[in-house]
Symmetry: C2
Subunit: 247 residues, 2 copies
Amino acid sequence: MPGDASATLAVSTVIFALRREADSELATVWLPLVRRIREPYEGCWALPGGPLRSDEDLAVAAARTLNETTGLTPRYLEQLYAFGDVGRSAGGRVVSIVYWALVRSEEAEQASVGENVRWFAADDLPPLAFDHNLIVEYALWRLRNKMEYSRIAHAFLGETFTLAQLREVHEAVLGRALDPANFRRGIEASNAVVATDEVLLGTRHRPPRLYRYDSAIDLADQGPLPRLNDRPLIAPQQHLNDEGKNA
Amino acid sequence: MPGDASATLAVSTVIFALRREADSELATVWLPLVRRIREPYEGCWALPGGPLRSDEDLAVAAARTLNETTGLTPRYLEQLYAFGDVGRSAGGRVVSIVYWALVRSEEAEQASVGENVRWFAADDLPPLAFDHNLIVEYALWRLRNKMEYSRIAHAFLGETFTLAQLREVHEAVLGRALDPANFRRGIEASNAVVATDEVLLGTRHRPPRLYRYDSAIDLADQGPLPRLNDRPLIAPQQHLNDEGKNA
DNA sequence: TCAAAAGTGTTAGACGTACACCCATGG
DNA sequence: CCATGGGTGTACGTCTAACACTTTTGA
């Protein structure tokens, strides 16, 4: 066995945020893409990513390209899949290890958008480079699946939030309305969230109570895999979320 | 960006089979390991695998090393995870794309076991090379999780089987006894299985009916990912399972 | 006082679990 | 006939979806 891996190794990331359309009621899922500036697929939109550096972990590479693209720090980051079929690249074998990430909606609003970076509605994408349409589709499938049995919806929200806001996140991702009463009971029963003694003022109705994450509970069960969110993924720059409590 | 991936790319596979202990009632999960014949970790047991060849897909590489190790064809094969942290290899960066596979129990009984290949009980492993203990642990977690909401148990069985045999598979993987009556109803309601008009004779009680897979139903929902089992993973040798029907 | 959303209560059906019971075969 | 697992019936507790209803604010 001559033991040389004749394939390029790259890391890409599907970055999700929620965006409320100007007119519409429901928020929808959006993601940033970058325009390719070289062959193959020059001019096409593609997932942000790049070659793996020899001194960084896979998840760190994903967080780095995410940051380079959007200027943001991921609130949630999980490996999606390794795509490596022979024919997928057209011009040299490339194995892409793809992550998917969630960023806060408000931060995403003011995220940098250059000439070659643009946000798209996830369910209305143009034809992308390589097999990236399939990859986004798969990432969306995982996001929707995981929403049902984990707490990743919190990753889209700020420090405190109302149950209606949390419900809107679920509704946007799942694409259907949920019963407010039953949703409240479900969340309360899960203990994923703790009530603060504050309420949100300024509405034109009864002020809703504000809630906070229970930081002792992880956003998603990854099984025996070491949890990513326990350590910072990129070098401390501005203000990271660095609450390292455990139960 | 100097764009060269300075990491070796390898594919490994966690291969599961069920084995009934001579005395015990319950079957348990077993897997084959190979002894390393070179540094690092020379002499240690490790997952079967090897470098990725430039002309084969990732899943094909997994099926190939599985076949080279056990002489078997996987009944189920799924990508598990890509492990690529900087410090995991000790002597050169290695990114391992790991698959997990299920093989039929009877075939595994008579599988080739050379000097450097041995089967181990999955819950009683020695310290393995690299981070392979963690990998096996994660694969087991996935197997148990997936057993609850998919039909992968069928992969352990032959062409026809009784519901008691199918229940034994579930019990072995989940590690607890299941109510025969409720299990029957659950399986029947899922339509995963169709009754044949044959029964299994030779027992010392009422002969149980034999069942067959519904080949229109995939073993597990992989979402939008192309299904592996639709095409043969290794070149046709002896007698592959080649029923390519669809609903 | 009214509209609107927050928040609570109640009910009917689905579903999971436990277990009693009959059925059919080998010995 | 009897032991044994195959196979059926049934009842009970829990969970879920639907929706009526009360509460509390801004306007």
